[in-house]
């Protein structure tokens, strides 16, 4: 991509950022939607970073083993990997959901523990899969009309991206228009009212956290099977953690999670795009831009007097 962008001259910069938006946003999208669902039920899950890494590892491992050892078709095994990644995320989500609902246990602390445990698990089990090459997910080429290879490669879209784009409005519709969505919001906003309605708070939270971690696991599969499409111990640059900030940025709204993910994905692509045209100064500072931006947004929008608009009311309260 870098070479092609160079051939385009300065036009390569916006094109590179656009391509990055479509690629690098996918894990952000899945993890932030998962975090959004989790937080809507009144619990915070910092441990999605662990689910993301475990998902990335298991997707890659299953895709590789499926094609090489179990004799599956190379078109099929990556998809099996995506499914297993989601299941691995659910497993970690179950631990988080169960542990964070024990009396006197702080969900933020559990999240930190899950980051350490999830990444430890992923690196421990994933060591043998760093070398081999696993079959990747197919892409949908929307750029065939163009003769420019840069445009063609920029428009290679992952089906998972389209899936994520579809999930965002679906989740919004789920929250606003369905009985179950109302239950989730009630549990997250005023647990007492939900309890009065006869809703089981632990069950709703358990399901939301598990479903959210499922999405995070799929987000991990995007990393290892689509972009950058490798498995290594440094594959995640904290996307799972940034999701927490991203959800605040998006004000707990799934549609806005989509825009925020595109924005963060684009921001990550600024550095490679500038490098392609020969600007290499301060690349670390550019890389830190999303974090600085998130912090600034939080500083500007937070207030000690009131909670953020859109924030679930029960967020950050301790179990009785």
């Amino acid at each position: 991509m870098a070479v092609a962008a160079a051939a385009l001259g300065w036009w390569g910069v916006p094109l590179g950022i656009f391509a990055g938006m479509l690629r690098a946003s996918v894990p952000f999208l899945f993890v932030s939607l998962g975090e959004c669902l989790t937080e809507k039920s009144g619990k915070i899950n910092l441990g999605l970073e662990g689910a993301l890494l475990t998902g990335a590892m298991s997707a890659y491992a299953v895709s590789y083993l499926g094609a090489e050892k179990w004799g599956l078709a190379p078109e099929f095994s990556p998809w099996l990997g995506v499914l297993v990644a989601g299941l691995a995320g659910m497993f970690l989500g179950f631990i988080h959901a169960w542990l964070s609902q024990q009396p006197k246990v702080n969900d933020v602390a559990v999240g930190i523990a899950m980051i350490i445990f999830g990444s430890g698990l992923a690196f421990f089990l994933g060591k043998p899969f760093i070398q081999p090459k696993a079959p990747q997910l197919p892409t949908i080429d929307l750029g065939a009309w163009s003769s420019l290879p840069a445009v063609q490669s920029a428009l290679k879209i992952s089906p998972l991206f389209l899936l994520g784009v579809a999930i965002a409005p679906l989740m919004q519709w789920f929250f606003t228009n369905t009985r179950w969505g109302l239950m989730v919001r009630a549990v997250g906003d005023s647990p007492d009212a939900a309890r009065a309605l006869g809703v089981s708070i632990p069950k709703v939270r358990m399901l939301c956290i598990i479903a959210g971690s499922f999405l995070a696991g799929i987000g991990g599969a995007c990393l290892s099977l689509y972009y950058p499409g490798i498995w290594s111990e440094s594959i995640s640059s904290g996307q799972g953690l940034m999701a927490v900030a991203l959800v605040i940025f998006a004000r707990w709204n799934p549609i806005q999670c989509l825009w925020a993910s595109l924005f963060f994905g684009g921001a990550q692509a600024v550095v490679p795009a500038l490098q392609a045209v020969g600007i290499d100064q301060g690349r670390y500072l550019f890389n830190a831009a999303p974090y600085i931006l998130t912090l600034l947004v939080m500083i500007v929008t937070c207030s000690p007097k009131r909670t953020l608009s859109g924030a679930p009311g029960a967020l950050g309260t301790i179990n009785s």
Binding site: L46, I95, L99, Q102, P103, K104, V105, N106, V108, A109, V110, I112, A113, M114, I116, F117, G118, S119, G120, L121, A122, F123, F124, K127, E233, G238, L241, V244, A245, I248, Q281, G282, Y284, L285, N287, A288, Y291, I292, T294, L295, M298, I299, C302, S303, P304, K305, G316
Partner: protein
């Protein structure tokens, strides 16, 4: 918590539950080792031998425990005030940067010394340079986490998330400085700052191979303990941590307390960065990102935010980290084994939090049975 006749049950509970959690974690981790085809007993034996088996081995453990004691305080102190800070790694990196900048300035007069300046160092006494480096590191680390506390109090920004984001910012800042403005042109493969002159490196205690960082860690933990448990400042912090509203009604300056305690917490982590620069690396580069910050969070949790217990827990965890190499070399286990073990311990310790007060053994008998029966339990049941 001094032991007396009346509270031995709660003391026993406070010891038995974390120890039980760690034992349970060891059993679980043993299952992982077993699945990996290794004997858990052999692995624990090797961990014990490389971490605590001999004085020489134990020195290595203490070397790793020293920064853990300091970074643990970065989480433990604000936790007493009800703040969950996880920016230890960032504060440590910033402290390391503060230390190297002040160290280079005081030895050469510039962070980018010319060849002539390297030939003619300023020649200040090492003690002066060490104190200056320590103070600079504590100041920078303290401001870094103090900002988190201030943002929390004055803007309502969640301190956990902001301190986490600031970890990434600090690491990016370090990478930027050592690759650009502070880079030693002779560091080719691994961009680094100029090295400290050998005479200003932090020495070892007597004839051991333990550097003075261990003393810093022990002293900092002791001071933190006295500060929290035996001063009015600590008392006010604990009140505010227990109930902010009550503290406000009582007229305590909650905001000042929060910012001060965050500053102190950050300065401890910053000092850990100075130790890493002055005693281990001798310069600033990406090796400053050690992971001690994240492990420090674990130490603080397991120690239940008690600075004295943190010394013990840091030594234990230092031993486990120390034995990571042997697991890799002798048993051919992945280097993430230690990380996995830490994760399991962390989860188990958190679960054990919910167990306090659930065991009848640790409850005062007076709470269980209604007052009268002073007679032995057997005869009381018989009547």
């Amino acid at each position: 918590m001094a032991l007396s006749r009346s509270n031995w049950r709660s003391v026993a509970e406070a010891i038995a539950i974390p120890v039980g959690a760690i034992l349970a974690a060891m059993v679980l981790f043993g299952c992982f080792c077993f699945l990996y085809g290794k004997s858990p007993l052999a692995i624990y034996g090797a961990i014990y031998k490389t971490a605590f088996g001999s004085w020489r081995a134990f020195q290595g453990t203490l070397l790793r425990a020293a920064p853990l004691m300091l970074t643990a305080l970065c989480t433990a102190l604000p936790a007493r005030l009800g703040l969950m800070i996880i920016g230890n790694e960032g504060a440590m990196v910033m402290g390391g940067l503060g230390a190297i900048v002040s160290g280079l300035l005081l030895s050469y007069g510039s962070v980018l010394p010319t060849a002539a300046q390297v030939q003619q160092p300023l020649g200040l006494p090492p003690l002066v340079v060490h104190i200056a480096m320590g103070l600079a590191a504590m100041l920078v680390g303290g401001l870094w986490i103090g900002a988190v506390g201030a943002l929390r109090h004055y803007r309502g920004v969640n301190e956990t998330i902001s301190s986490l984001l600031m970890n990434y910012i600090a690491i990016a800042f370090l990478n930027h400085l050592v690759e650009g403005p502070m880079r030693d042109p002779s560091s080719l493969n691994k961009p680094s700052s100029f090295p400290l002159p050998e005479m200003y490196k932090l020495g070892n205690i007597f004839t051991t191979r333990i550097h003075y960082g261990l003393i810093y860690g022990l002293v900092a933990c002791a001071i933190a303990y006295v500060l929290i448990q035996h001063t009015t400042f600590g008392f006010a912090s604990r009140i505010a941590g227990g109930n902010v509203k009550a503290a406000r009604v009582a007229g305590l300056p909650v905001g000042k307390l929060a910012v001060t305690i965050c500053f102190l917490a950050g300065s401890c982590a910053g000092l850990a960065g100075m130790v890493e620069v002055a005693a281990v690396q001798g310069q600033a580069n990406s090796s400053l990102i050690t992971g001690y910050g994240y492990s420090g969070i674990l130490v603080a949790f397991v120690a239940r935010y008690n600075p004295l217990a943190a010394i013990l827990v840091a030594t234990l965890l230092g031993g486990i980290i120390n034995s990571g190499g042997i697991l890799q070399r002798t048993f051919n286990m992945p280097d993430a084994t230690v990380l996995l073990f830490q994760g399991i311990v962390f989860l188990m310790v958190l679960f054990s939090e919910s167990l306090y007060g659930r065991f009848k053994v640790f409850k005062e008998p007076a709470e269980l049975t209604p007052p009268p029966p002073v007679t032995p339990a057997g005869s009381a049941a018989a009547t």
